[in-house]
Symmetry: C2
Subunit: 415 residues, 2 copies
């Protein structure tokens, strides 16, 4: 007996091309971690008819539904009204929610518009879910065959409410089958070639399930196991990973469900080593990803985005004659950029990228997709070139970023 869950994201801005729904993915990960079987995501607009149909269908199929969005103070936020309609009764005013909401706004020196009162209204039979960091309370209510949880669409509010109030309630349900994941990161083969290598593991119905995801030249072999406990599911993933490792050989360069830049930052922190970056074609992407990691300032010293020859000279000390002799996209210039960044940021290691992301700038000798890399370390500088397939500017830059993470994950960091 599994507990089937679905996720519903509500908002005109999600369906009509304005914003990306990032909530559903995050929610699904949390629900699966405690053992719910997530079957489907649905994204609907705030249109009352569309929203009513989607809510009714989702709650007729699943045991548990987590819905986000449409709880704001403005007239285009209609989730409360539609749930009340489906429950067959009027909204009611929950005075404690209004007091808390008013106190929250006043404590921040903000005005309390009357329209915020709408956010303290609840559908019949609903239990309020407190929002400790925003104005919109959520609620839990039975609907159809489902236990429905409605949370605000603002990610930080939704996340905190799910973790503190929804997950503890759901974790007590019988029939849960916790899921664990493990990812193997691969650069090198085509998706088809990788698939043939590990084909016996990819058949439908296996546990752990093994699948391949391709993104920006990076292939991820995803292992998903369900078991009686999360520990058992995790152990099943690791057992299969141990069988896959020899098949993947040198293609494999990282493991775990952390993002690659998180692995890089953690590895530098563990070795107490610091890093700087000098970016031409990756244009700040390396720095921006690293700075996403909280506490990264202990290992990340900074970076330079140096597009022009003049800035490579002025900011990184690349000699003019090197640029003249080899061109900006060359291993000697990449090496000088890395060495310059390492020295100026007083870092243990520095990486540099210089290449042609396109669509302009290619030549027969250096076609679009040619990227030179360098890694400066205490013992000296290594430089290398990768010919990335010209599958568009975004692809070339993403693939170049993965190349840097691979180099840093393979580099021996200790003395």
């Amino acid at each position: 007996m599994t507990v089937a869950a679905e996720v519903l994201a509500i908002g005109d801005e999600l369906v009509h091309g304005g914003m990306l729904d990032t909530n559903s993915k995050w929610i699904a990960g949390q629900l699966e971690a405690i053992g719910l079987a997530v079957r489907r995501f649905t994204v609907t607009s705030d249109d009352p008819g569309d929203l009513r149909a989607a809510l009714a269908e989702v709650c007729a199929r699943a045991d548990v539904v987590v819905a986000t969005g449409g709880l704001g103070p403005t007239l285009d936020d209609r989730t409360r009204d539609v749930v009340a309609e489906l429950r067959g009764g009027p909204l009611w005013f929950h005075a404690p929610s209004w007091d808390r909401l008013r106190g929250w706004l006043q404590g921040r020196g903000r005005p309390v518009p009357d329209s915020n009162r709408r956010q303290a209204m609840l559908p019949p039979g609903a239990v309020p879910l407190d929002n400790p960091i925003g104005t919109a309370p959520g609620f839990a209510v039975p609907l159809g065959r489902a236990e429905l949880f409605v949370l605000p669409g603002v990610p930080r509010e939704m996340q905190r409410m799910l973790l503190e109030q929804v997950v503890p309630r759901l974790a007590a349900r019988p029939g849960l089958e916790p899921v664990a994941q493990h990812w193997l990161r691969v650069l090198g083969p085509s998706e088809a070639a990788l698939g043939e290598r590990i084909e016996p593991y990819m058949a439908a119905g296996r546990n752990p399930a093994v699948g391949i995801t391709a993104s920006g030249g990076l292939l991820t072999v995803r292992l998903v196991a369900a078991a009686a406990s999360r520990e058992a599911a995790h152990a099943a993933c690791l057992a299969t990973a141990a069988e896959l490792r020899p098949l993947l050989g040198d293609w494999l360069f990282a493991e775990g469900t952390e993002e690659l830049h998180e692995l890089v930052a953690a590895r530098l922190a563990a070795a107490r080593r610091t890093l700087a970056v000098a970016e031409s074609c990756t244009g700040g992407l390396l720095a921006a990803r690293l700075v996403d990691v909280a506490g990264v300032s202990a290992v990340f010293q900074g970076g330079v985005v140096a597009y022009s020859d003049a800035s490579k000279q002025a900011l990184l000390g690349v000699p003019a004659d090197l640029l003249h002799a080899h061109g900006a996209v060359s291993e000697p210039v990449a090496a000088a950029m890395a060495a310059g960044a390492r020295q100026r940021f007083h870092a243990d290691f520095a990486v540099a990228t210089t290449g042609i992301a396109g669509p302009e700038g290619g030549s027969p000798q250096k076609p679009v997709g040619t990227v030179c890399f360098a890694l400066a370390r205490p013992a000296g500088v290594a430089a290398w070139t990768v010919r990335i397939p010209d599958l568009g500017r975004v692809f070339v830059r993403d693939r170049a970023v993965f190349e840097v993470w691979r180099a840093l994950l393979r580099e021996p960091l200790a003395d």
Copy 2:
């Protein structure tokens, strides 16, 4: 009579917490532009049972369905098989697709594994859709009440095939009602306060529909109009925008459906002015967003990510006594960072950010969320401070980025 459309994204990695579905949003934007009414997105795994149920339901509801994913060469790609099952017949081998696919791989010097043959199989009644930049052909097939288009999940392949092969077919349908959007960007009020100001425009059923989206402190008033032609829909948006402008007053700082960094780059290009950035708390985000814009190297000279005091001195020439006297998070240091970047990158303008993104580093005088900005221009440097609410590291950095875009969009760039 409207033509109802739905979007279906297929992939274990989408449902089980690994990857974000970015395709549906993009597809919906394209379909609405030619006049289809997009009602819902559905995301399902590759599990044959789940996929069959989702496909059947979606194709029973909508006139047009665009599905992406599950067309790869490996065993976990099951979309072809499930569509064949729903069509009630076996897959058939489409020799021209196999020839093209083989030629595509050979032309790139890649091996042709036998498993790729699977990608040339089509469900009964399907018409192949050519994939000019990848191995997976798509197909069009009638299913339920819908005309179903199945495309690969790789965004660049899907996008090209949709634009070149799906959109032209759909644009010929009768009953289309093209949609246009217009966005008004606002910084300052709370969502509730903004909603009260424009409440009469936000009632359900209005055309243009007016909604508010909040993200990282930025509020976007979204206008969506449907009309007999795209031009008429656009004109309806602009007429409502003209009514809203006086209500928004100084809160409003940008208009249009371009991203803010695209507006900044276009404005600099039109004025033939160049920009450099010096980033502490935004840590490369400004540079990374700018470099997303193709052709930006004509206006963006580069940037420095300078976390440490030492790097602010070495890379940007910030005087040590300034850092000592005022601290790194101060207007004088922001001003020196901007001036240093402007000079070293030989740029017309330079912006600098230095602040406390958290969670560590706050003090009573300078709490988490305190960010100092500077804008260096030919006529001198302006510096200012914003106290951003401490709603988390990501929020503080996003809000700081929006502050920079606003400053650059309001700055007179011409001499």
